[in-house]
Symmetry: C2
Subunit: 308 residues, 2 copies
DNA sequence: TCAAAAGTGTTATCCTTACACCCATGT
DNA sequence: ACATGGGTGTAAGGATAACACTTTTGA
């Protein structure tokens, strides 16, 4: 085993704090990204369940018990522990959050547990409809906040921060910045959690919407260099459905042909031989994920082919 | 403020656990990556220090108190909470780890606190010397472990895992996989922490070496798409020194000219006008980091230009 | 026949990689 | 003079972004 720790190494008493797990469970059904909620206003949180050796195992068991679906990819997101994040007690609550991906959002067992459209909580993150100009509108309100800063330095910082986060001033929209966007709205006091009412979107309990934004940002980042989309797809799917799922998560449209080339050249899928005409229009070939490449492509490095 | 939580949402009592902060503080001096240790065998760990609102602030205050150096970039790494990770007590210890970057590793205030060459703990991660063939040697020992697997399926999995992690079978070495490599060595029982003695490198207390490997992997990943190296450099530096620092962290040599082009085209630095002849050979121009681009390049997306 | 989605060919451009060479200084 | 690092030009190759068009079905 490990070396015994020299006696003087631990200079601090072991502090005891309240702790919990929080799960952001995501699925995609018919190009709608869905998240598992309690009563539509909270993310499911669970105990450490000390029978399990690892937190990951505890989370898995607990979610699978609730949803009757196996969890695919699971990764730790972030540990939230700021002092004032749980309003009730004065004591610090440590929440270790996890992102979990699963196939399809069918009915769930427990009462109060439901799947919700993820963009219900973060509507400005969905830019698939080119006419949806929500983010720019929000940016306007943010500008006012920037100009209200007491000194020039701070004004400049806020302006450039807004421009980067919301893709203003000839900068491109970056879907990965979901967390920065939420935090900027929060700081500007535009969300209900911070006492505002300008920003749309359903609020959540405590800082759960921040946790959701963290999950979305991480998921979008992960999409680009690891084949995690497949964790969200049924065993067989068309390339159109696959693209639809990626678009749903990325919140933007992709260039069809370049998307296909990308999938093809990375040899991520193989034909099943069957076709389906359920998609409308010309029947599409069905594909399945090539599990073999899973380990390899853990680090491939491919960006998303944007539309237009 | 946030919505009041519906009464039935929290289905679990708030569990109380022992918790601590663990810091991986990294500096680079003369192309040697250094990490702050306690007695050379443990990472510094600290209390939550509840005066501070955020953990980040607590960590910062505490490290700056110990080292008398301002901390540059700080990011949360991972929260370790497996049941058996702290040998002593039977109780679960939750360790929230942070990565912190600072300039130079000068003398530190507290007794027992010292800077150590990071590769002292993970020697196989340093491949700057092309003659250093440590990783392949280790891979040999790992092969034996793979072949000892009870069934064919498991053997195949282990083989491909080793090949990917250690860049075997005509696969390229990937410096980002530092954590996978450590974990593979651990599972194969080759490190002292797991009862072995094959793998070289100084062991650390508990799972601190795993935490260090996590930090190295994260840092290497971050290097590629965010200008964090500059947090480790003195105010003025030559391009050679900058490259040396990146090489030190990445554990491999880079292509000089392409490295320079990369830095140049991203407009990350500007000339100070001064030159230094301290580097030997032709005197080199001194540069400084352009702080303005910090926010922008938060998401630039550039790989490292490899040598050879 | 037309809407709707599937599926293909081709080109310009930029980034990455790689090659090989010259420059200025201290010893 | 020569070792040592600093500093540059340029071309091949591949991946990405962007162009528009054909095919096959159901209604």
């Amino acid at each position: 085993m490990a070396l015994p720790p020299p006696a003087d190494l631990r200079r601090h008493p072991s502090e005891r704090v309240a702790a919990e797990l929080i799960a952001v469970i995501v699925a995609v059904t018919d190009s709608v990204p869905r998240v598992l909620t309690l009563g539509g206003a909270a993310l499911p949180s669970g105990p450490f369940a000390s029978e399990h050796r690892s937190l990951q195992a505890a989370l898995r068991a607990w979610v699978e018990h609730q949803t009757h679906h196996p969890l695919g990819h699971v990764e730790q997101l972030y540990t939230f522990a700021d002092r004032d994040r749980a309003a009730e007690a004065g004591e610090r609550v440590v929440s270790i959050s996890y992102l979990g991906l699963t196939r399809e959002a069918r009915a769930v067992g427990q009462a109060g547990v439901s799947w919700q459209d993820l963009y219900r909580y973060l509507p400005w993150e969905d830019r698939r409809d080119p006419d949806a100009t929500l983010a720019p509108v929000l940016a306007q309100a943010l500008q006012a906040w920037a100009e209200a800063a007491p000194d020039a330095m701070l004004r400049w910082e806020r302006r450039s921060r807004i421009a980067i986060a919301f893709g203003l001033e000839r900068r491109a929209w970056n879907e990965d910045l979901a967390l920065q966007r939420y935090e900027t709205l929060w700081e500007a006091g535009l969300v209900p959690e911070a006492g505002g009412s300008t920003a749309p979107g359903e609020p959540m309990v405590h800082d759960h919407r921040r946790i959701l934004a963290t999950a979305l940002a991480r998921l979008r980042g992960t999409l680009k260099y690891r084949p995690v989309v497949f964790e969200l797809m049924p065993p067989n799917f068309t390339l159109g459905q696959l693209q639809g799922a990626v678009e749903a998560l990325a919140g933007r449209r992709l260039h069809k042909q370049n998307f296909r080339r990308l999938i093809e050249q990375q040899e991520l899928v193989e034909e099943t031989g069957a076709v389906t005409s359920e998609t409308g229009g010309r029947p599409a070939r069905l594909f399945r994920f090539r599990r073999e490449v899973m380990a390899e492509r853990a680090v491939s490095g491919s960006k998303l082919p944007l539309a237009r």
